[in-house]
Amino acid sequence: MTRRARLLVLAVGGAGLTALLIAACLDLPDFGRAAHPYGTRAVSAALARHTANTVAAVNFDQRAFDTLGEMTILFASVLGTVVLLRQSRDEERAAPESARVAAPVRRYALLLLPVAVVTGLYIVAHGQLSPGGGFQGGVVAATAIHLLYLGADYRSLERVRPVGVFELGDALATCSYLVLGLASVLAGTAFLANALLPYGTFNTLASGGSVPLLNAFIGMEVACAVVVLLALFLDQAVEIEEEGNRNG
């Protein structure tokens, strides 16, 4: 198909889709309306289980089984990236040379590194209380380590980030989530039901039953996954070279 014909087909399809979408938008419930039956029920369920952050309660209590599916997608896409970006036979590794980093960049990156790591861990730990949680905190903690790449060089980043350990951590976190779900089955309730642990005092770190635990597992999985992904892409950019490129 020529480019012109393709654009024509796209225009016809796009016009049809636009008409359907506008018709659908006109029929949707009013923006900002007061009635939210699911939201109201989710809030009262979260409060009944002493979880201050309703979003965390939805993710790790009411929809814990769906979150298991989402973490499986995450795990599978990391696994797929590991397989796709492995070193192939016609490539070889070249040790990167260390480059000079401007003094202010080095100073602020190294100053910010511990702060950023602690912030990430804080966001994970307080997932059931304040906005945030395992998904967000994991990303913050994982990217914080990479300040070392900005502030120092690739070698020092590699020393604090053995990829194998993080791959193992990713798998362990996924397994722990499953094991906690199975533990609730063995205790006589439904899979991943939040009935195993005491709900604790509202608005304290130990509240919410199994919510903080599941949240921590997700935090660990996301942090490990992001570290592994970034490591693989950095390897491609910094270390792996094709034979042709090196010689020529």
Binding site: L28, A34, N59, I73, V78, S88
Partner: protein, 115 residues
């Protein structure tokens, strides 16, 4: 115009689709897919919005004292963001392999499959 935010979501989705269909570069195509996905965030958050609503977090407000926005769609959006980011990483890894094997990132030049 109580439906205007929904139209914004539809518009973002259509723009992403147009970019996907006319893309001359696979990395650009992956970016367009992310734009399409951003439309679902706008749609979900629009569905859950409540006038005068605040975040559905009760660590600093008394339960019942203020209206809160729908936490269910917020939870859906949040998982969508993280999963979307890793799937984008997978697609970019695929693009790297395509460029290595075929020497081009233009989808029009990838005519036949090679072993």
């Amino acid at each position: 115009m109580t439906f205007f935010p929904y139209l914004v979501a539809a518009y973002i989705f259509l723009v992403g689709c147009y970019g996907l269909a006319t893309s001359r570069n696979l990395i650009h195509a992956v970016g367009c897919l992310s734009v399409c996905q951003a439309a679902t965030y706008v749609l979900l958050l629009t569905v859950g919005y409540r006038d005068g609503g605040t975040a559905p977090v009760f660590s600093d407000i008394r339960p019942g004292s203020r209206p809160v926005v729908d936490p269910v769609v917020q939870a859906l959006t949040l998982t969508d963001v993280v999963v979307g980011a890793t799937v984008t990483a997978l697609l970019l890894a695929l693009v790297i392999q395509v460029v290595k094997r075929h020497g081009t990132a233009d989808p029009d030049e990838l005519r036949e499959l090679r072993g």
